[in-house]
Amino acid sequence: MSDNNETSVLGGILKRAYSSVFYENWPIWFGGILIGIMSVITFGWARPWGVVGGLRNWADWFFNYIGIYSQAPFSPIISTGSILTLGLFWGAFGAALMSKQFGIRNAPGFELIKGMVGGTLLGIGAAMAGGCNVGGFYIAISAMSFAGLAMMVGLIAGAYLGLRYLYWEMEHIPSKPPKPSKGSGGKSLVEIEPYIGAIVFLGAIVAAWFYARNAYARVGGLLLCGIVFGVIIQRTRFCFVRCFRDPFMTGEGDMVRAVTYSIVISILGFAALKWTGLRGEEVYVTSTFWFGSLVGGIIFGFGMLLTGGCGSGSVWRAAEGHIKLMVAVFFFALSNSLFKALIKSSEGFQALIGYKFFIPDYIGYKWTVIILLAIFVVYSLVATWNEETDKFTVEM
């Protein structure tokens, strides 16, 4: 009898744990802190987090397969970029299933066109900036590359222009009545989603174990890191687009604060790893300062508003079943691969894109860390001030 009671108590605890992880919304600031910690762990384990590198690896394979590229890229099974992005998909897909939020969601035709155009712009912008909002902004700043700050300025400007476009679009392009949505595909399917989700996560553990068994523990670990990013981002609906868009659109600053908490942790972790010599100083300091990062940031920022997703955001929303974002990710990958090849093909273009600018080379680690932290504290304060005053909020 008492055994039965203990079993039911344990069952109750597990049920509550499940519902707090997969049913209740995680606060956005919590997501920011977790992503910051994961960013440092991932760099400590093998390499910094990235998204677009994986997409490009897959597109490179596609172009090699159809004969456009003569050289075969690194195998997507062991390419660390590919594995991190696969993990992001995997984790977000599993988390969406576990929380019964997965569903194939169709979009009106015009939205799909915006997904194609926006995805293409994301690809071009990320190729110019040496990374998407993750590699080109978040990780680049953590890695103390000045190019990251240049992209940040570009992203703010691009998001502002993109929002103005969306306002214009609403006034001038009549929206057709949307097609009836399929929703989550029927009630019975929704009920079994958590079971499929559990199988998806079990598959991840088996895959990581398989990597480790074949002496690819670093890759297996990265797959798990990618999966954790996917779960955190899906559960918190962590959206870098909102960080750049909301201050202009609704005046809200919670996402700016969440990104600030996150990047502060990441900057401190990266500084510790690089300063002590545990990791190379050159890691994620790309030759994109300033033109590539600034202009790439503007293009990427505009593309974010059209698609409604960034590098990480497009991937996790695609994994949740949004067809518009699947289309965007497809075009994002292809255009990034092609534009990167274009940049590489011309020395003049490469020179225009920019040079490496590792901030500590000029002012030392101490001042770099102090100044970067100060920039984000000020950014957060301005966003919070804007919440009260609406100084930057764009009216329709």
Partner: protein, 79 residues
């Protein structure tokens, strides 16, 4: 449940994903008078997370949310 509330304006945002539902709601609310109720129908699960903050910021009141088969109904009273 919230479906007993009588809306003054109804807007269908089915199939649209972030940020379009939020922008369209903002536009619709702008054209309404204070105290009127907007019913927004949508399918993007993200809207449910974004709406409380948006209403609070805009001074509106989120009266209720109904969910059935992946379709959400949001009732908002303009502030």
């Amino acid at each position: 449940m919230a479906d007993e509330i009588k809306p003054d304006v109804t807007i269908d945002l089915s199939g649209l994903s972030c940020p379009m539902p939020a922008i369209k709601m903002k536009k619709e609310l702008k054209g309404m008078s204070s105290g009127q109720v907007l019913l927004a129908i949508g399918t993007d699960p993200g809207t449910k997370n974004d709406l409380p903050g948006m209403c609070k910021k805009g001074g509106h009141e989120l009266l209720g949310v109904d969910e059935e088969g992946g379709t959400f109904k949001y009732y908002i009273r303009k502030g």
